[in-house]
Amino acid sequence: MFELLPQLNDRNLPWMDTIHPIVVHFVIAMALIAFVFDLIGVWAKRPALFEVSFWNLLFATAAIFIAIIFGQVEAGLANPYGASRDILNLHSTLGWVLAGVLSVLTGWRYVIRSRDPLKLPLAFLGAGALLSALVVVQVILGNQLIWVYGLHTVRVVEAMRAGQV
């Protein structure tokens, strides 16, 4: 049965390169910029920016589910070692939490926008700050996996296959 599965390459992946870090561009950039545009929109009284934030938030929400799908597959093939096992668990859990938080915030934002697209309650700014903080923590966790532990890098996969890790 296993011969039906595609061969894994030198990154221990069935495809050319990790896809998860590419998809997360859209979660990270869109979620963070939505908060920044909300802040500027409120302070500089530019309600046009609220519309920009809404669409960015909607895109972040769509993207996070794709990020999670690829993230789960690539995590399953990552062979974490040492402390990166715990970091990967935390990163996975927080990823699902973020999917929930983003979905709820986008729904809430949709209601706010439907009622009055020119006003943003301060409570939403608070929620945006919380979301941004969660995204930053999640990015730092993900960074450890690649930049410290080198999961899915050629040299580490080589060492794993040689039984050195």
């Binding site: 390169d17 910029i33 920009v52 450890q144 580490v156």
Partner: protein
């Protein structure tokens, strides 16, 4: 940098004075904002086609709103990308690629870094030029028109997306294949046992 002064930075095993590289994180913002900016300007340009879909979904949308996303995201991308390129140059100067590696593009580390460095500057120029072009369309040439962007602008944007994908792949190869600033890769290259060095 004079190698004799490098000790002043007290570099870690990843050859950086800090644990996590900054450039790849700013890249998320540059790429994400640019891609979505172009995507929303395309959505604004073909708005008459998709109008019925949004009516069917009962989702209130305006063409101007889509073009606002295209403009503000590109503006943010333009401002942030200066920092992305600056951080890239600092971290490239401290890069120590694994010796003897040939990338899946058939290039060595020096060629890959040269292309990624030159490509990064070229892309920054392109982003700045696109932002100026976009600004002229929004505030002057097409300020009275429903479709705020020229087709040539969108085509250039899509071509730049392709250039960015190629460029990003080079950057990914620097980490994944050449082990640049990846602590575990550098430790392995130094002959360390990861079970002890990275518990």
């Amino acid at each position: 940098m004079d190698p004799a002064n490098l000790h002043l930075l007290s570099l870690g095993a990843n050859n950086l004075p800090y644990r996590l590289p900054i450039h790849p994180n700013l890249v998320h913002l540059s790429i994400g904002l640019f891609v979505i900016a172009i995507a929303f300007d395309i959505a604004g340009a073909v708005f008459p086609l998709e109008k019925r879909l949004f009516r069917f979904l009962a989702l209130p949308v305006t063409r101007a709103g889509f073009h606002d996303v295209g403009w503000y995201n590109l503006l943010a991308c333009c401002l942030i990308s200066f920092f992305t390129v600056a951080a890239g140059f600092v971290e490239m100067q401290l890069a120590v690629p694994l010796p003897g590696v040939v990338s899946s593009f058939g290039m060595g580390s020096t060629a890959t870094m040269l292309w990624h460095g030159a490509g990064g500057v070229a892309l920054l120029f392109a982003i700045v030029a696109m932002t100026l072009w976009r600004g002229f369309q929004r505030f002057d040439w097409r300020s009275e028109m429903g479709r705020q962007v020229q087709w040539s602008y969108l085509l250039t944007g899509v071509l730049l997306l392709g250039a960015m994908a190629w460029h990003g792949t080079l950057g990914a190869q620097l980490a994944v294949e050449f082990g640049v600033h990846v602590t575990a890769n550098q430790l392995l290259a130094a002959g360390a046992d990861l079970n002890e060095a990275l518990p």
